[in-house]
């Protein structure tokens, strides 16, 4: 598996990360290096082996349906770059 420059630019766009042309070129090399390294795993034959979801046997913990959180508006908004009253403010997005 490998990526080309178009793929790198597309992933950057989908993630809303601005990268320059030079950065994209550099990123192609780096990402392909990482992918090639991970690809070594393909050398192991794991036919018929269940995917492992956790290293130790562990079960998903579930919560009861009770309200135990929220009502912390000021904390939630504390680091917002822009806030308007009780809202987050973001650049206008409209269809």
């Amino acid at each position: 598996m490998s990526v080309d420059k178009d793929t790198v630019n597309k992933i950057a766009r989908l993630s809303r990360i601005a990268i320059s042309d030079a950065e994209a070129d550099k990123m192609v090399g780096e990402l392909n290096g990482i992918l090639a390294w991970v690809e070594q795993l393909a050398e192991v034959d794991c036919t018929g082996v269940e995917p492992m979801t956790a290293v130790i046997p562990n079960k998903l913990r579930l919560r009861d349906d009770v309200v135990t959180d929220g009502d912390v508006r000021d904390k939630v908004l504390a680091n917002a770059p822009a806030k308007e009253g009780s809202f987050f403010g973001v650049p206008k997005v409209i269809e």
Partner: protein
């Protein structure tokens, strides 16, 4: 079921419809956090640090949300997957602080099922069609954006962010707007019976993404478009009609349908492309590393099954077996609130036939006049049972019952109290009735003669006169018997 065809220049076209219904799961708290799901709260007050996607926050699933999804699956006879998993659906939008929605793509909690729909659920003779359901999965809702509060900014309220949704994905089994409408109605009815979603489309508890394509009847499937977030059954049917016609026109004029996301504008009654979402289908799904797989054990599944109520189809069959007409059984079971009201009436000891007739004519009639729903009825099942009990035991006649009911609606008084205070009790006093009959016969000698010479229809006249003379309070059966005797 119905042959719905679009007449084009090149012949007839068939419409193929599949629906993805998003139903808000009824729960106190959110899918992965302990914040409240309450509607209409102060902006950003029902938000925890998890919902706002602060760094390091971890999701913990709400058992009730999974339980409701499983119960819903059982109600549509679906395969329940004991092992399911959450995936991240990645996209960037201002209403999604995480940058991904936690959803279930590869291993949904509920698999294949189906529901039966009829075009007219109140007509028992209407044809039945099975609509396949491909899957139900559980996912998070996004926040809400407001665009009209500020000239250059949009405002974000995260109260809805993280509320649990069930996405119910149908097979492309529907062939007309009417079938799609009937499917959503039936689905909403089932959700409300089960109690897994309130089905309130106005408040956005249920919304549909509508997939439409057209083809020559029986031909290969055409390219589909997806119209997002349609929030009423009427709009959905209009969107399908418009979109199918648009596709036919496009193909017949030499164009091709593009697979894309569209938006329905109910003011202009048209769908239009959402160009900004052209990358939207590239979601780069992967298993959410913050969450272990969901494994359901026998005890959990058993409780889900045991807690399911009787569902509309089963209830309808049982009502018919109790002697109700097919029409009455269909009307009483179509909506959960009607069925539950009727059940309460039965629990108070009211006869099924008497209760169903009264509910459908008197109560529905009165509510209609008052412009109220059954939930807002000024008379509850217990009060209604008191009234019907007075009719059943002969204390008052059916026509007096109507008067009493009107007073109940106005004053909120109990039926027995009204009958007592107004002296409306039906009389079985044969002496009094006979006296009135004698007077009427004396005053209408000509009619008595006519009756005796074979004009049977006049019997009704004598009944009416007697009842009037008794101010409606005489037992009609006794009047009948005494009149027959007197007129010979």
């Amino acid at each position: 079921m119905s042959e719905y065809r679009i007449q084009g220049n090149t012949g007839e076209w068939e419409v193929v419809i599949g629906l993805e219904v998003h139903a808000q799961v009824t729960s106190e708290s959110k899918l992965f956090s302990g914040s409240s799901t309450g509607f209409g709260a102060e902006p950003n007050s029902h938000v925890s640090l998890v919902d706002a996607a602060m760094p390091g926050m971890l999701p913990v699933p709400n058992r009730e949300c999974l339980r409701q999804a499983v119960r819903t699956g059982m109600a549509i006879n679906a395969q329940i997957n004991r092992w399911s998993r959450f995936d991240r659906k990645n996209y960037f939008y201002a209403d999604l602080p995480q940058g991904y929605q936690i959803s279930q793509l590869y291993h949904p909690i509920v698999g294949e099922g189906e529901i039966e729909v009829t075009l007219n659920e109140k007509d028992p003779d209407s044809a039945v069609k099975k609509i396949g359901i491909e899957r139900i999965h559980v996912e998070q809702d996004a926040g809400k954006l407001m665009h009209d509060q500020h000239p250059t900014m949009s405002f974000v309220d995260l109260n809805r962010s993280g509320v649990a949704l069930m996405e119910i994905v149908s097979r492309p089994d529907m062939r007309s707007p009417q079938e799609a409408g009937a499917y959503v109605k039936k689905l909403r009815s089932i959700l409300r019976y089960v109690g897994s979603c309130d089905g309130n489309m106005e408040q956005g508890s249920m919304r549909a993404d509508v997939n439409v394509s057209v083809r020559k009847p029986g031909g290969e499937l055409g390219t589909r478009t997806e119209t997002k977030n349609v929030n009423s059954i009427r709009f959905m049917m209009q969107a399908i009609e418009y979109e199918a016609q648009r596709q036919v026109d496009l193909i017949e004029s030499g164009g091709a349908v593009v697979q894309e996301t569209r938006l329905f504008d109910p003011n202009k009654m048209e769908t239009r492309s959402m160009r900004s979402k052209e990358d939207a289908h590239d979601y780069r799904y992967f298993p959410d590393p913050d969450l272990l797989p969901v494994e359901l054990d026998d005890a959990f599944l058993e409780e889900c099954r045991a807690s399911l109520p009787e569902l509309p189809d089963a209830k309808r069959v049982r009502y018919e077996a109790m002697g109700l007409t097919a029409y009455n059984a269909a009307v009483l079971t179509a909506e959960a609130e009607t069925a539950f009201w009727f059940e309460e009436l039965l629990a108070e000891g009211v006869d099924a036939k008497q209760g169903s007739n009264w509910l459908m004519s008197e109560l529905f009639g009165a509510l209609n006049k008052l412009g109220k729903t059954l939930d807002e009825s000024p008379v509850n099942p217990k009060q209604a049972a008191e009234l019907l009990g007075l009719v059943a035991d002969g204390t008052i006649s059916g026509s007096i019952a109507k008067q009493v009911f009107e007073i109940m609606l106005e004053t909120g008084q109990g039926a027995a109290t009204i009958v007592e205070e107004k002296g409306l009790k039906q009389t079985n006093d044969t002496g009094a009735i006979e006296a009135e009959i004698a007077k009427i016969m004396a005053a209408n000698e000509d009619k008595v003669t006519e009756y005796r010479s074979g004009k049977d229809k006049l019997f009704g006249f004598f009944v009416g006169q007697t009842m009037k003379a008794m101010q409606g309070k005489a037992n009609p059966q006794i009047i009948n018997d005494l009149l027959k005797k007197a007129l010979g």
